[in-house]
């Protein structure tokens, strides 16, 4: 579970001899380097109120213990977006001995912008010039010695996905950290900007209270840029009135001279400088575009993009269906045959065959079995696919293709990422809506996530409907849910005040995903899922077991009769399982069979012996739409506030009942 960033960073510094931070643009292979350098003992930390995480790990190199801080991938450091803020803050709080800047050798100019900001902060830097293999394939050669000379920092070419150059990188990083800080490189902005910096620097030099022990030049630059935090420090600093005036004057002078806000002006000059450096150190052979690149463009081309997307979605669904089902059956069988008897024995020995023993076994036997039957097969499989989609860069193509549909719902293309994740489990998907800018977007996207059938609901649709009524009704349930989600999104966009923000997203070239990176990413996600889900599954199962074993469950069925039998037309016992399925959605089906066997006798092990196919369809439809499980409600409450969580939950119950009743009516027409 994430811990506080301040504390975690301080702890890390106390424990290790030497610490380094990894910085870089998104998707430049930074996490590949992190994964290669570290083992499984990775902790995540976040700042209060912020959702972008920093990863921390310890590793050994030679005879030293080294702490590694993995900053979020960003294009810049600063206060304009959460990831940029967190990256800068962790860099300042963590005070690493050296920053490893991971550069994409195929896109040096844009990547160097971040490097210039790091140098401006006065932090020692070692450059990992990554993806040099792809740069070479594109006819780009980088003169590493010249780059090192210009930046005043060692430069090591690497291919992180294959682990090439990482030993040298670490050696250089350790070397830089143990050497006294090198002279800052002679990188200068235009005369106007340098004059303003020099004036502020001079005024700051006499102060002993500069924030984060930054150099006067670093503080001067941050003040000119309008950095909110350093600005706040200045406003609160003692005897700094002259400094405030000087800052305002310099910002004014720059605006007069260059007709532009100082922050934008600095951004412009940094880009200019980065472009100059890139032009100086790289040699490009004119080369026809790579076949791989041209093929990859087909994923976003209008004619081929959407059909490819259809194929990919069908592939995901098929893979989940076959592999998930195969794993689910296999693991369940193993559990029942091997683990279940072993677990039952101590309970029987301790508590006999009484109420307590049977109730606890609902949790520790059946509950864990359910985790194995759904959690690992469907969620784990889904996470492998999700990591694959992310690491190849295809998910961004999906975001590009769906932007327009998302726009109609007040979202933009990037919202598709949590929605896709929602097909695995709603809990991490709702956490994933953090990538969206505003609360309005998060509320809309979270509602859509809730309406997206997760793997537990998929298990019920596949297990109940496709086995009894065939694949067409199963597909119809998906189509109905999809349409409802779309209409809900459009409706919310119309009704909620405010407006959507636009899509601005980098499109990455195809990257061959590394097996290690995929497995680690899958593991971290699955671990988070397990931590959230396990107590709820165990607790929910035990409560359910208690209700069942004491017979209280049947009493609950009585008030439900009019709604279930009268409105939805399904047996009250089925309605009962719908209610308790709020504890664990996939349990609805299993419980239905169990309860039916109690009520109707052993022949009820087949659903069809006591429900018609149309009733099963209505049952699965309502189960799919109405309130997600308690874990989802909890995460909605935590992420969006309890009032919104209650509203979303109530909405889905009403929607499920309306759609269920309507479906009953329509199906009755077919029946008659």
């Amino acid at each position: 579970m994430p811990t506080s960033c301040h504390g975690a960073l301080r702890e890390l510094r106390a424990e290790v001899q030497f610490s380094l931070a990894l910085a870089g643009n998104p998707n430049v292979g930074k996490s590949s380097i992190f994964n290669r350098l570290t083992g499984m003992g990775v902790a995540t930390a976040n700042y209060p109120g912020k959702t972008v995480e920093v990863q921390l790990a310890e590793t050994r190199f030679g005879d030293r213990t080294i702490g590694i801080i993995d900053l979020p991938g960003t294009y810049a450091l600063g206060g304009i977006s959460e990831d940029q803020w967190v990256a800068r803050q962790a860099l300042l709080d963590g005070r690493p001995d050296v920053v490893i800047l991971v550069l994409d050798a195929t896109n040096l100019a844009r990547n160097l912008y971040l490097g210039l900001q790091i140098l401006d902060l006065g932090v020692p830097m070692v450059v990992a010039l990554n993806i040099v293999d792809q740069a070479k394939a594109r006819g780009i050669q980088v003169h590493t010695e010249r780059l090192a000379e210009i930046l005043g920092s060692p430069v090591v070419p690497t291919v992180a996905t294959r682990g090439l150059g990482l030993d040298r990188l670490m050696a250089r990083a350790v070397e830089s950290a143990s050497r006294p800080a090198p002279l800052p490189p002679r990188l200068r902005y235009s005369v106007d900007v340098e004059t303003a910096i020099a004036k502020l620097e001079g005024a700051l030099a006499s102060r002993a209270d500069l924030p984060y022990d930054l150099s006067p030049r670093a503080v001067a630059l941050l003040l000119l840029e309008g950095d909110p935090e350093v600005g706040a420090w200045l406003a609160g600093a003692e005897g700094a009135d002259d400094l405030v005036r000087l800052r305002d004057e310099m910002v004014g002078v720059l605006r007069d001279l260059r007709g532009e806000d100082a922050g934008l002006l600095l951004a412009r000059e940094r880009h200019g400088l980065a472009g100059l450096i890139a032009a100086e150190v790289e040699r490009r052979e004119p080369r026809r575009s790579l076949v791989a690149d041209r093929l990859w463009r087909l994923t976003t081309a209008p004619l081929t993009g959407l059909p490819l997307l259809g194929l990919v979605l069908a592939g995901i669904f098929g893979f989940l269906f076959y592999v998930g089902d195969w794993l689910s059956t296999g693991l369940s069988a193993v559990w029942t045959a091997v683990a279940s008897p072993v677990i039952r024995w101590p309970f029987h020995a301790l508590f006999g065959d009484g109420l307590l023993s049977r109730t606890l076994l609902w949790g520790f036997d059946a509950g864990i079995n359910a985790m194995l039957a759904v959690g690992i097969p469907y969620v784990l499989t889904f996470y492998v696919l999700l990591a694959l989609l992310e690491d190849t860069g295809y998910l961004n193509a999906v975001a590009f293709l769906t932007d327009q549909v998302m726009h109609k719902m007040g979202l933009h293309g990037r919202a598709v990422i949590p929605l896709v994740a929602g097909a695995g489990c709603s809990v991490p998907a709702i956490m994933g809506t953090r990538v969206l800018g505003s609360m309005r977007e998060r509320v809309i996207a979270s509602t859509l996530v809730v309406l997206t059938p997760c793997s537990a609901r998929t298990a019920v649709i596949l297990g109940a409907v496709s086995l009894t009524a065939g694949w067409k009704p199963a597909l119809a349930i998906y189509a109905i849910t999809f349409t409802l989600a779309l209409l809900t999104g459009i409706g919310m966009h119309r009704l909620m005040p405010g407006r959507g923000t636009g899509l601005v997203m980098e499109m990455f070239p195809f990257r061959r995903p590394g097996a290690l990176a995929i497995l680690k990413k899958t593991w971290y996600r699955f671990r988070d899922f397990t931590v959230v889900a396990t107590p709820i599954v165990l607790g929910g199962s035990i409560i359910l077991g208690g209700l069942y074993e004491t017979g209280l469950l049947w009493k609950l069925a009585v008030p439900l009769r009019p709604i279930m039998e009268g409105w939805l037309g399904i047996p009250a016992v089925a309605g009962l399982t719908l209610i308790v399925a709020i504890l664990r959605k996939e349990l609805a089906l299993q419980l239905l069979i169990t309860l039916a066997m109690v009520q109707y006798g052993p022949q009820a092990s087949s659903l069809l012996s006591f429900m018609r196919p149309d009733q099963i369809v209505v049952y699965a439809l309502v189960n799919t739409i109405y309130v997600p499980c308690v874990a989802t409600i909890a995460i909605l409450g935590r992420e969006l506030g309890w009032r919104r969580a209650a509203l979303i939950s109530t909405f889905t119950v009403v929607l499920a009942l309306l759609v269920g009743g309507a479906a009953r009516g329509v199906l009755a027409l077919f029946h008659a």
Partner: protein
């Protein structure tokens, strides 16, 4: 404009002052002696003298006190000077290959020496460019300033090379976010793909490709490059330290 040699008011200084007034008026900023002095790189005292001198010649009028403005004649002359300045910049950048950030200073010297005949030949040699290397419009022979047509990026068809002129957005955070990606005024974009039915655009900036939603693209005003010689495109990537600043009116060009 012949003056005794002892006076600091040379033709060059007077022409620079006219040019300064013209540029400042174009930006809608008050043309004070101080502002004029900054551009012409002279002391404010000499700038005041120069403005008085230009007033007696009927090129400048004193509308409000301390706020001189160009007369019709003055504007025509100033446009001619700006035309020679920007043509000279093109010469230095495109033909002589001087770095982007140096052409302004060179042109400040060179522009005064051009005779009308040389100016006409230069324009022909350069293939009658519409803008200076920084993107500023070049006045035509009659002194008319034809602003290059700009339009929102979302109205550009796929396969077009454009230059960002302006980003119409009130929020600084959004502006700065775009800036951190390299999307700022002066940046060169290649519109690679425009998704049909109001979908997003795919643009290339340098080596990076970005997807921009239509509503974002509508806020980015761009200018299409019509007569860009290949040389200039290459050089634009190696812009000087002053960065990509075509809309950098007083100092940068």
């Amino acid at each position: 404009m012949r003056l005794p040699h002892s006076s600091p008011l040379t033709d060059e200084v007077l022409e620079d002052c006219l040019q300064a007034l013209y540029r400042l008026e174009g930006q809608g900023r008050p043309a004070t002696a101080g502002e004029v002095a900054v551009f012409a790189r002279i002391t404010p005292a000499i700038a005041s003298q120069a403005l008085d001198n230009l007033q007696t010649r009927g090129l400048v009028q004193n509308g409000q006190p301390g706020c001189p403005s160009l007369t019709g004649d003055g504007r025509r002359q100033a446009a001619g000077i700006l035309r020679r300045h920007r043509l000279s910049e093109r010469l230095f950048a495109d033909i002589l290959g001087l770095p982007w950030d140096r052409v302004h200073d060179e042109a400040m010297r060179f522009e005064h020496a051009l005779t009308p005949e040389a100016e006409a030949r230069l324009a022909t040699l350069l293939n009658n460019p519409e803008t200076c290397p920084h993107g500023g419009p070049i006045p035509d022979l009659d002194g008319r300033l034809v602003p290059p047509a700009s339009r929102p990026l979302d109205q550009v068809v796929a396969g077009t090379r454009v230059w960002v002129r302006q980003i119409v957005e009130e929020e600084t955070t959004f502006l700065r976010y775009l800036a951190s990606l390299g999307l700022l005024p002066g940046a060169e974009l290649w519109v690679e793909e425009v998704a049909p039915f109001g979908g997003p655009l795919l643009v290339q900036v340098g080596d990076a490709r970005y997807a921009l939603g239509r509503e974002v693209a509508a806020k980015i005003l761009v200018r299409e490059e019509r007569s860009a010689p290949a040389r200039q495109r290459i050089r634009s990537r190696r812009r000087g330290r002053h960065g990509a600043g075509p809309e950098d009116p007083v100092k940068g060009d």
